[in-house]
């Protein structure tokens, strides 16, 4: 067992930052010792959740839990430790014709983190959340006991752990079902829409496309409100299975605070929207570029300056989505707090996990630089979201209130009760779990 050391950690939003005692176990017995130690802890793997869900004054780093344990090339089943990243799985198995059944917008997340946040991707409307491709995982309970969880075995703990933000135990390893693929390329179609109504209509009409997501111009007002570039995709037939050999850019320093203001954000959004002239554009992209456009800029989170940023992501049930989204966009544009990156997606039906985020409806994600006047605005948006029956994504959240959480996630009590039964309350906690009272 390695000695612990104090280090400065934060989530991807770089807000908040704190000094934490970090433990780097390399096998199960070491993790048990960490859990036996005094005080609570939370697993912090690649630190890609945006807010404070993987932060506490004691964190368990998983960089040594990074072994691929087994692979069945006939069926595409892979078993790996929880610290292995999706990027590593892609690197190893894409050339052999296998890809993730579900992937979020970055490949630099760990398998354990993908389970804990039950992440979703551009194919959620067809393929559901990450947990859908999880056959089973090994979980170390707060007591130190290791159990196997699957939809059939310890099913209750399985459903609480997928989406459970690391609060039920430490995920040691997982068995995943990969999806076969005959090309590493995606046939893309980009549709330019004129307003929110049209954006929704195209989303509805594109249900048979396996991948869909829209970039939305959040500063467009009035008749233009909700204008978007809807990016549809499906696996290409050919092009080969190779990985691209190129080096990405890295943002080396924080950009100054004034980089972001109404004018620059407005200009960027305007140009991005108008750069595409045709109403429909086709192109073929490598899937790494299609799924992970931002992964090619290392540390893009420094774009928002030293104070950091947060991503506000919510979902509103389909029937109320239109009203809810209009209301949210109105308030944002009134407040003049634009966002470079606004992403809209129509999600498929909810699953049976306690705290998984998706439900059938539209989800919108916006990045905001941290600043004083942001928090009152987000409180206001919370109310709009809740009034329309929606909720906020835990993997992005850094500030929602206990009431907002409980109203958005009605199964919170069930989750808390399970944590109680497992003795997790005193052992596993994050700044987020304490704020939300789970």
């Amino acid at each position: 067992m390695n000695a612990s050391q104090a280090r400065s950690i934060s989530g991807w939003g770089r807000y908040p930052r704190l000094k934490a005692q970090s433990l780097t176990p390399d096998k199960a017995s070491h993790i048990r010792e960490c859990l036996d130690g005094r005080g609570e802890l939370i697993v912090h793997a690649l630190g890609r959740s945006y807010g404070d869900s993987a932060l506490n004054s004691r964190v368990l780093l998983t960089r040594r839990l990074n072994h691929v344990l087994d692979f069945d090339p006939q069926r595409g089943l892979v078993e790996c430790e929880s610290g292995v990243s999706l990027a590593e799985l892609i690197e190893a198995f894409l050339p052999r014709g296998w890809f993730l059944g579900t992937t979020p917008g970055t490949r630099f997340v760990s398998v354990g983190g993908a389970i804990a946040a039950d992440v979703h991707g551009k194919n959620h409307h067809q393929a559901g959340c990450f947990s859908q491709s999880v056959l089973s995982f090994k979980l170390m309970l707060p007591s130190g006991e290791v159990i196997t969880c699957s939809p059939l075995e310890n099913a209750e703990i399985f459903r609480a752990t997928c989406g459970g933000m690391g609060l039920t135990g430490v995920i040691l390893s997982a068995r995943l079902k990969l999806s076969p693929l005959s090309s590493a390329y995606i046939d893309e179609r980009i549709i330019k829409t004129r307003n929110l109504e049209e954006t929704f209509a195209y989303f509805q009409a594109s249900h048979e496309w396996p991948y869909s997501v829209a970039w939305l111009d959040c500063l467009a007002r009035g008749e233009d409100m909700g204008r978007s570039l809807l990016m549809l995709g499906r696996p290409a037939r050919d092009g080969g299975l190779h990985l691209p050999r190129k080096k990405g850019l890295v943002l080396p320093v924080d950009l100054p605070r004034w980089t972001f203001n109404q004018a620059t954000v407005g200009l960027f959004n305007y140009l991005y929207y108008h750069l595409q002239r045709a109403p429909v554009r086709k192109r073929v992209s490598h899937l790494l570029d299609y799924f992970y456009p931002l992964d090619s800029i290392g540390h893009w989170n420094k774009m928002y300056g030293r104070r950091g940023f947060t991503q506000y992501q919510f979902v509103i049930p389909k029937e109320a989505s239109y009203q809810g989204l209009r209301s949210v966009l109105d308030r944002i544009s009134q407040a003049g707090l634009g966002s470079f990156l606004v992403v809209l997606k129509l999600l498929g039906p909810a699953n049976d996990n306690c705290l998984s985020f998706p439900l059938e409806g539209y989800t919108l994600a916006l990045d905001f630089q941290i600043q004083g006047r942001l928090f009152p605005l987000l409180e206001e948006l919370d109310r709009v979201v809740l009034d329309h029956g929606g909720r906020i994504y835990l993997a992005k959240d850094v500030r929602m209130s206990r009431q907002t959480f409980r109203q958005g996630y009605p199964r919170w009590a069930e989750f808390t009760a399970l944590r109680e039964r497992l003795g997790a309350g005193a052992k596993l906690a994050s700044l987020q779990s304490k704020r939300l009272g789970v």
């Binding site: 390695n2 000695a3 050391q5 990074n66 691929v68 344990l69």
Partner: protein, 243 residues
């Protein structure tokens, strides 16, 4: 290509082994004392990169076993990555000669013992490469780390001599000088965050230097300039510093 990794449980060694497996399809002899955790890593590398691996027991300090160890390798490796090392704690090395001896033996004596055996084979065949992990600590004795520095300094001189000798046989020797790397060895040390590299970065630097046929490489690159300054500080200034 067959690559023999000595001290294969080291973080830098494992990251470098992965790069050679990925880029060269290198089959790997992974040698170390702790075989249990090495077996897991071997399986991992096989699954990821579809290479063959063999896990071998190797005790750097059991000099007498080295010849037999190398003899049993079949086929013989095309290259060797020497990555075992032991840092110890400076203050303890000052008080406890047994630890000081261990630092000197693991980092220097053991390297001489096994690499002379490897060098003889490579020299006879007229091909092969040797990559040795030394340390900038070996470039100037500093109060905070001079026992380890002495051993690594010896290794630097040794590798440079070996390179000189093997040059005419077409055998290449690469000396690697990794600065602060986030590994088991440095865990618990309070290192300046900005200067600390990940093992994967060190591995990339090693592989790039190998491909370019370099003799010596710092990882990361800026250590070259830091060490330039540290090496050239006049002694009367240097001895007043807290380095």
């Amino acid at each position: 290509m067959h690559l023999l990794v000595l001290g294969a449980n080291s973080d830098i060694a494992q990251a470098a082994a992965a790069v050679f497996a990925r880029q060269e399809g290198a089959h790997l002899y992974l040698a170390s004392r702790d075989l249990e955790s090495l077996e897991r890593r071997a399986k991992d590398l096989e699954l990821r990169y579809q290479v063959k691996t063999e896990v071998l027991a190797f005790d750097a300090l059991d000099y007498a076993s080295h010849a037999g160890f190398y003899q049993r390798l079949d086929p013989k490796p095309d290259g060797v990555l020497l990555a075992f090392g032991f840092m110890g704690e400076q203050s303890r090395s000052q008080r406890d000669f047994e630890q000081a001896r261990r630092v000197l033996e693991v980092n220097l004596m053991a390297a001489v013992s096994i690499l002379e055996i490897v060098a003889a084979d490579f020299e006879a065949k007229g091909r092969g490469f040797i990559i040795g992990l030394a340390s900038p600590a070996g470039e100037r004795g500093r109060q905070s780390n001079y026992i380890y520095g002495t051993a690594k300094g010896g290794l630097i001189v040794y590798l440079s001599g070996l390179r000189h000798r093997l040059h005419r046989s077409g055998v290449r020797v690469l000396t690697v000088l990794p600065g602060f790397v986030n590994t088991k060895m440095t865990q618990g040390l309070d290192l300046p965050g900005l200067l600390v590299a990940e093992p994967e970065e060190a591995a990339r630097d090693i592989y790039r230097a190998f491909k370019r046929g370099k003799d010596r490489v710092y990882s990361k690159w800026f250590w070259r300039y830091i060490m330039l300054i540290i090496r050239w500080l006049p002694e009367r200034v240097f001895k007043r510093t807290n380095l």
